[in-house]
């Protein structure tokens, strides 16, 4: 996997400077992000915390190249991505970024295994048998080895969330962005998932950025960035 090649941990995987984002139209237009700057290094786990509505998800969408900023710049592994075209951003998403959404995690008509294999099939780097082996391995790691063939609809919210984490890790991205990845999990499973994420970050040199409301989780991260009203504080 070239993306997770032998890079010295500590190298900057993601950098954003002075990000601005407005949402809504006309009178409803809101200045949601007011000049956010941030840097994430490989092998490190970052927690973004803050009250509901302060702009955490909005920031994560921008960092995940799912949305475009109204001002500022985003660099992924040294390449400026904020002003590139859709094709380049799409390719970068597939190769470098794993994303876990806050809501709606899975494609519900597909089994857990198929969900995890979905990004691998698009990237096409592995043979089908290798894809399946890797997907099983990842599902094992999130504690769902016994439910690989369950459809999304047959999994609980927490289980779905764990499948989504396994899927985000499928292509061994250099950057993992997760919006409340442990929000639906009990203490045992949130610990399990968090341990998995941090272990991978250390082993594979991934930069992990997660949004969380759980102070315990936030504390165990390498860095915590509190956010308020569209800006990092403190």
């Amino acid at each position: 996997m070239s993306a997770a090649g032998p890079v010295a941990p500590g190298e900057v995987a993601l950098r954003c400077t002075d990000l601005h984002r407005y949402l809504g139209r006309d009178e409803g237009r809101v200045h949601v992000l007011k000049g956010v700057s941030f840097e994430a290094r490989r092998g490190q786990v970052y927690a973004i915390v803050g009250p509901s509505g302060c702009g955490k998800s909005t920031l994560l969408y921008l960092l995940g190249l799912l949305d475009q900023p109204d001002g500022g710049q985003i660099e992924i592994n040294g390449r400026v991505m904020s002003n590139t075209d859709d094709a380049a951003r799409t390719a970068a998403r597939g190769e470098h970024i794993g994303f876990v959404f806050q809501f709606h995690f899975l494609m519900l008509e597909f089994s857990a295994l198929e969900n995890v294999m979905m990004p691998m099939r698009k990237l096409g780097r592995l043979a089908p048998a290798e894809m399946e082996a890797r997907a099983r391995h990842l599902l094992d790691a999130v504690g769902l080895g016994a439910k690989t063939h369950r459809l999304g609809t047959q999994l609980s919210g927490g289980e779905q969330q764990r499948v989504a984490i396994a899927r985000a890790l499928a292509n061994q991205p250099t950057i993992l962005l997760a919006d409340e990845p442990t929000g639906n999990l009990d203490v045992k499973n949130s610990g399990l998932v968090f341990d998995l994420i941090t272990r991978l970050a250390k082993e594979q040199g991934q930069a992990v950025i997660l949004v969380t409301h759980n102070p315990e989780i936030a504390q165990r991260c390498d860095h915590t960035r509190p956010m308020r009203d569209g800006l990092f504080v403190g």
């Binding site: 949402l23 799912l66 959404f101 008509e109």
Partner: protein, 414 residues
Amino acid sequence: MISPNLRIAYRFLTAKKRAMFMSLSCTVLGVGLFIVTQATTSGFEDIFTRTLLGINGAIRIEDRLQDTMRSMAAAGASDFYFAQREGVKYIEGVEEPQRIIDALRDFANVRGVSAVLRGSIQITSSFKTEDAQMFGIRLEDHLRVSDLGQQITAGKLEDFRNANSGALVGRVLADRLQLAVGDSVVIAARGESRRFVVSAIFETGYREVDKTNIYLHLPEVRSLLRKPSGATYLQINLHDAERAPADAARMEAVLRHGAKPWQEREKSWLEVFRALRVSTGITVTVFTLIASLAMFNTLAMIVLEKTKDIAILRSMGYERRDITRIFLWQAGIVLAIGAVVGALFGAGVTWLVGQVPLSISGIFKSDRFMVIYDWRHYAAAIGTAVIMVMVASLIPARRAARLEPGDIVRGTAQ
């Protein structure tokens, strides 16, 4: 390996079985009924064509072109010659049939030639008198350029062959005169009259012919008409009747006589059949139109329902064109099933229709619904469905591809 897009398409589709079923069943109906209409209209066209080829042959040569044109035509190519056609003068009949018959040996596609001498007559039976047309033929020659041998419904061709004063009388005419095989008739032409014996009765199915035609031996007609040489026309049969127009054009240029291919001779009827085929084809395309509207509707619905999935796919690196393809594949799957089932349905109904007893006569004779199986009908039916459904699917597919993942996850996608 199955493309990931096709997999996703299949899964989206099976989640919306009922909506797809409408589109699928209309595709099946559209494809199937298109095939049936083409099979029946072509079936009737086919039997009509075969009937007329069986009566009149593929090409008829008559009317010598006037000599003054000879030098001009000889100098130029045949194109030039045709350009001059308006001004060409014709002299009725073929004066030296044998010379033309010899020249026709050079035409590889010619299967047989029959010199025919025609005249108007009155035929009288013990019951009454009718106007008719007599055709003087050499039987062996004429059997090679027509289906006369298969058209005999009473009596024997053998008896005609062996009797100098034998006559072959059309079915309708025989009925009108209340003639049976073995009866004698008097045929009068130009004041001359002579007694003939009905050797056999024929039926072509083409009423005009069965009502007026009488075949006699050529020498008898010559002496009745006092015409010791020449022919009214030469009837030609070809190995490949489809090539008749080209052959006729060449004959006209080489032989200096007017040569008419059957396609030109029967133009008005053939155009009726073509119009019928096109109009019935268009009518049943309504089903295909409904299929494409239903497909549009279903896909638009799936796009709305699956926006979140589209966002997930896009977040995983699936490109805009992947999204387009996922939706086009759904149409493709429905089309593939619709084409196969529709073709089988079409073939099945065609077969059933072919079993329907139906007595037709007038321009041809048939005792059941005529159908033919032609792969081109199937190709046209499927091609129409593919084009219409695909065009209708492009709109929702492209709309899905245009969705921005950021707008979708925030719930502000339109």
